[in-house]
Every structure is written in structure tokens, then in C-alpha cells.
């Protein structure tokens, strides 16, 4: 579950936000918010759920939509806080991955806007990056409300560590093991095709080779993984 700082009504619309803005009492703001409210009613219920589902299935159309709607916001945030275009892209994509991981869990329910979630993640990621680089000078200005993402961030970081280990293990495996395993697990090729591509006499030979490689990979992985734990 993602919890917004502001509680939502049953439909999942961040109504208090509207009230907060209405508080300002300016005609323009009221008008603007009423527009936001309208789009939220539509998106919050159906559109955003569909988008997240698409994201979880690695659907490029859905990803494109989320990308278009949110990237510029993150980019301007990063740029306004001592970042570069490349860093903005990295941060945003990492946030997208975090959202993707989130969307894949079955218990996942969206309780606030995608925009809010992405912004919160990016903000946190960027703060961390700044701290690491020693560039953290002034308070990062926040223009939007954020949701609490500490737990998600922890999970995400843990996963990142795991992926890094896997990455290292795969890379130190050497050829042709790496390609063979990638062919089997990543590209989902069957044994006959693999035997043909890698020049083994038959599928059984290829299978044996694959298991040898897999055992080596497991060894490499767990040696790191256990230390990590």
C-alpha cells in the first residue's frame, strides 16, 4: 500500500488537497483545482489503475503515458536542485522501476496519484544522491506534497543490491556460460536451439552445460549474497 500524507475519501481522490487550495480563495486557483479534481476523478479510478497494470506487464504504451505525464515534473525538480539532465533521467527511471516493483506485488493497491508517488520517490532518491556526492548544501525545495515511501525505498534498495550481485556474478561467469544462461532464462530459448547456437552436438549436452554454468553462477551469487546478508 502507498499511503498519501493526506487521507483520501473512499474513491481514492485526494479531496483535502482541493480544499487546501481552495483555502487560498483566489478565483484562478479555484478554477485550476476544479480542473484538477475533474481529471482526478477520471484518472484516479480507472486510468491510473490501468496504467499501473500496463507497467507491471512491461507494456510500452502504458510506460510511455506515465513517462510523458511525469517526466517533466521530475526533470525540473532535479534541474532546480543542482542536477543535470542525465541525472534526472537516471532518477526518474529508477523511480519508475520502484513503481514497477510495487505494481507487481499482488497486494498492491493505489491510494494516491502516480504523480505523487513518483515525485516522492524521486525526491528521496535525489536527496540520497546529493548526500553521497557531498553536494547536499541547502534544503531541497519541495513544491508538491509527498507520500511516505521509506519502506518502499528500503525494499527497492535491497532489490538493487541483489541485482547488483546477480549482475556481478553473471559478468564474472565468463563466456559461453553467460550467453548460454541468458539464452535459456532471459530469451527463453529451448535446449535444441541453444545446442545449435552454441555448437553442442545435442540438446542433452547443452542441458548439461547449462547446469554446469548454473551451478557456477549459483556459487558466485551465493558467496556474495550470504555476505550481503
Amino acid at each position: 500500500m502507498i499511503w498519501c500524507l493526506y487521507p483520501n475519501d473512499q474513491k481514492g481522490n485526494p479531496v483535502p488537497r482541493i480544499f487546501f487550495k481552495k483555502f487560498l480563495g483566489v478565483l484562478w486557483v479555484t478554477f485550476n483545482t476544479s480542473r484538477v479534481l475533474k481529471s482526478q476523478i477520471v484518472k484516479g479510478d480507472t486510468n491510473e489503475q490501468a496504467l499501473l497494470k500496463g507497467l507491471a506487464n512491461n507494456d510500452s504504451k502504458a510506460i510511455e503515458t506515465i513517462y510523458k505525464e511525469n517526466f517533466n515534473m521530475v526533470q525540473s525538480f532535479i534541474l532546480n536542485n543542482n542536477g543535470s539532465y542525465d541525472e534526472a533521467r537516471d532518477i526518474f527511471q529508477e523511480a519508475m522501476i520502484a513503481l514497477y516493483e510495487k505494481a507487481q506485488t499482488e497486494s498492491f493497491v493505489l491510494t494516491c496519484q502516480i504523480k505523487t508517488y513518483i515525485y516522492s520517490i524521486c525526491r528521496r532518491l535525489w536527496l540520497k544522491r546529493l548526500q553521497q556526492l557531498g553536494r547536499y548544501t541547502t534544503q531541497v525545495d519541495s513544491m508538491e506534497e509527498t507520500v511516505a515511501v521509506a519502506e518502499d525505498m528500503e525494499a527497492h534498495e535491497k532489490r538493487n543490491v541483489e541485482f547488483a550481485i546477480m549482475d556481478r556474478a553473471l559478468n564474472s561467469l565468463g563466456e559461453p556460460c553467460k550467453s548460454l544462461l541468458e539464452g535459456y532464462y532471459l530469451k527463453k530459448m529451448d535446449m535444441n536451439a541453444l545446442a545449435q547456437e552454441f555448437g553442442y552436438t545435442n540438446a542433452d549436452n547443452a542441458k548439461n552445460q547449462k547446469y554446469k554454468c548454473l551451478m557456477r553462477l549459483k556459487k558466485l551469487f551465493f558467496s556474495q549474497y550470504n555476505i550481503g546478508e
Binding site: S60, R89, F163, Y185, Y211, F221, F222
Partner: protein, 368 residues
């Protein structure tokens, strides 16, 4: 080799590729041998890791592709490119709704205020307006009456044959020859009315459109030729600044007007007419323009529409030309004789008018 077989078994077991018999055997093996069980757990976890890693790689790949694609399409901007749409358009897109609302609010307020203004002002001024309206009705009536004449004076174009046009004219011969403007005589015939309101039938003898002069002859039996005409018709040009007066029929009654000769040429340098400063009204057309001595120096014909008091008179010389033309063409008019001696010289204006007014006629032209 055993390890590989075992690994194969574990993988098949986890993927659900074993048949029931083999599965049952493997599960008992797993239960009895902790090493095998541990291997199953470990491998399951590892396969999950692999899946997650692969998914992670895939999503990264997709994100990268999407980013490149959107960058190419111009949906994203990483500093290098200029936004495809201009700032003004962006601003317009951003604020067009606000602008629309502001405009409609402004429009509504403007309508409301003008509505209020109309409402209140009309109630306040109601009685006055009605009075004005009454006056306007009267003015309108006389204007309708004079409308045709106005058109004649200004445009000289015949509007409709049925319409009566009117103007002034004056005697140039004791036998009842009257000179007037050609543009006064629209239609097929005319009647003339003297200053006492007596009407006479007349016929059109000659029309010279170019000089804008026409000659009528009173054919009415009731008309008795006059003994003499008190004024003369001047052959020479009049002098600048000469004091002039006129008698004409802008109304149903004879009207006196006074002014001076302001230029020796007429509208746009027309050398056949004078420019005179006099208050001329529709109906004055064809009226004689006298100098102080009572000589006719011109025939009032037109006025300048935009300028106040600027009128034009056809030079009296033209009367001679027209009459001579007429005599040449038709021997019946050989006896026509223009007055050459004025008896008005040195008399007071009132006396002059008194003597002259009987010779100035109201000309009414009619059509079928």
C-alpha cells in the same frame, strides 16, 4: 554428474514438469534428505532472483527505449532542442481558459452596465424624449415633403417620374416666359405659383441640361401679360464681394435671403457660375440672385452639401446664351425679349422686394 541430475530434478520439480509418480518420489526424497530439501529451497529462491533480475533488465530496457522515443518525438526536452511550439502559443494554451473566462465576465458586466444605463436613462428622460419625438415627427413630415427637392438640388438625378419636384423661377419676358433650373423640371410639365398663391399652368419650352437652365412659358388663360419687368438681366460678370439678395420658395411662401458674392467661379472652378455666400435651402433652386441695383446676376442653383452657406449661382450671362439658342432653333420665340433696364436702382431693399416679388414664381414640376 550427480549434482547435475539433482539440479535437473529440482528444476523440473519447481517448474511442475514432473509427473505424479516422480513427484511423489521426489517429495519423499526431499522429506527424508535435508540436503535435497535445502537445495530445493535454495534453488527456488535463486530462480526467483533470476526472474526478478530478468524482469528488471527488461523494464530497464523498455524505459530506455521509451525515453529515446519520447525524446525523438519532442515530448521530452533535455536542453539541446528548442521547443517546437512558440512561447506565445504555449502561454495561450496555458491561459486560454482564464482568458475566456475573463472575457466572458467582462462581457457580462459590460452588458449589465449598459443595460442598467439604458434602463435608467430612458426612464429619466422619458417625457423629454417624447416631446422630441413629436418634434421629430413634424420635422420628418416637412422633410418628407422636401426630400424630393433635396435630392434634386444635390444630385440632379431624376428619382421617380411620379414625384413632384419644386423650385423657384422668375419672369424674363413680359409674355410669361420664366427661367428656372433644369434640374427643377423633372417630369412632363410644371405649374407655377406666384407670390400671392395663384397657380398657373405652364409648358416647358426649353431645357439646357448643360447650363442647368430651363425656360417655361405660362400657358394659363388666367395669366395676363405684365407691362414691364422691373429688373434687368446683367450681361457682364459681377464683382467679388458684391452684396446680393435672393427671393425664392424653400417653403410654400416666398423667402428673402441676403449674402455676398464670394467667388467668381463655382464648384470645382466652374466658370459658368458664381460662388455666393447665402443661406440657400432646397426650393431656392432657380431663384434670381440680384445685386444691389436690382440686376439679376445669376440663378441660384446648387449648394455645397458639407459647407454651411456655400451656394452656387449660374451666371446671368448664360440666360442670354440659352435664349439666343432658343431663338435660333425656333422662330416662334423670336419675339422673346429679355429685360435690359432696371427700375430698382437706388431704391430701398423693401421697395425693391415689393416690386420684384410678383415676378418670382414657385415652380412645381409633376410627372405622370
Amino acid at each position: 554428474m550427480d549434482d547435475i541430475l539433482l539440479l535437473d530434478a529440482v528444476e523440473r520439480y519447481l517448474n511442475g514438469e514432473m509427473d505424479t509418480e516422480e513427484r511423489e518420489y521426489f517429495e519423499t526424497l526431499r522429506k527424508n534428505t535435508p540436503e535435497v530439501d535445502q537445495m530445493v529451497v535454495e534453488h527456488n529462491m535463486f530462480l526467483h532472483q533470476m526472474d526478478a533480475y530478468i524482469a528488471h533488465t527488461n523494464i530497464k530496457h523498455t524505459l530506455h527505449n521509451v525515453h529515446t522515443y519520447l525524446l525523438e518525438r519532442g515530448d521530452l526536452n533535455e536542453g539541446g532542442e528548442i521547443p517546437t511550439r512558440g512561447k506565445v502559443i504555449q502561454f495561450w494554451n496555458k491561459y486560454k481558459k482564464v482568458t475566456a473566462i475573463a472575457a466572458s465576465v467582462g462581457g457580462v458586466i459590460a452588458l449589465f452596465i449598459s443595460g442598467l444605463a439604458v434602463y435608467f436613462s430612458s426612464t429619466v428622460n422619458d417625457p423629454k424624449l417624447q416631446q422630441l419625438g413629436k418634434d421629430l415627427e413634424e420635422v420628418k413630415k416637412s422633410q418628407q415633403y422636401q426630400g424630393s427637392i433635396i435630392n434634386e438640388v444635390k444630385s440632379k438625378i431624376p428619382l421617380n417620374a411620379r414625384l413632384l419636384s419644386g423650385g423657384s423661377g422668375f419672369l424674363i419676358d413680359t409674355k410669361g416666359y420664366i427661367i428656372t433650373n433644369a434640374h427643377v423640371l423633372r417630369g412632363t410639365g410644371a405649374i407655377v405659383i406666384n407670390s400671392k398663391g395663384k397657380e398657373f399652368k405652364s409648358s416647358i419650352v426649353h431645357i439646357d441640361e448643360q447650363k442647368d437652365l430651363a425656360i417655361l412659358k405660362i400657358t394659363d388663360e388666367e395669366y395676363s401679360p405684365v407691362k414691364s419687368i422691373p429688373y434687368s438681366i446683367q450681361k457682364s460678370n459681377a464683382d467679388l464681394g458684391e452684396e446680393i439678395f435672393t427671393l425664392g420658395y424653400p417653403r410654400n411662401e416666398i423667402v428673402y435671403g441676403m449674402g455676398y458674392l464670394s467667388a467668381k467661379s463655382g464648384f470645382n472652378g466652374d466658370s459658368l457660375s458664381y460662388q455666393i455666400q447665402i443661406s440657400a435651402n432646397p426650393g431656392n433652386s432657380g431663384a434670381p440672385v440680384f445685386n444691389q441695383n436690382g440686376d439679376v446676376i445669376g440663378i441660384l442653383s446648387t449648394r455645397q452639401a458639407q459647407a454651411d452657406g456655400v451656394a452656387f449661382a449660374v451666371k446671368s450671362k448664360s440666360i442670354y446664351t440659352v435664349v439666343n439658342d432658343l431663338k435660333k432653333n425656333d422662330t416662334a420665340f423670336e419675339k422673346l425679349k429679355l429685360p435690359t433696364r432696371s427700375t430698382l436702382k437706388g431704391e430701398g431693399r423693401k421697395a425693391q422686394i415689393n416690386k420684384v416679388e410678383d415676378y418670382v414664381y414657385y415652380v412645381k414640376a409633376y410627372g405622370k
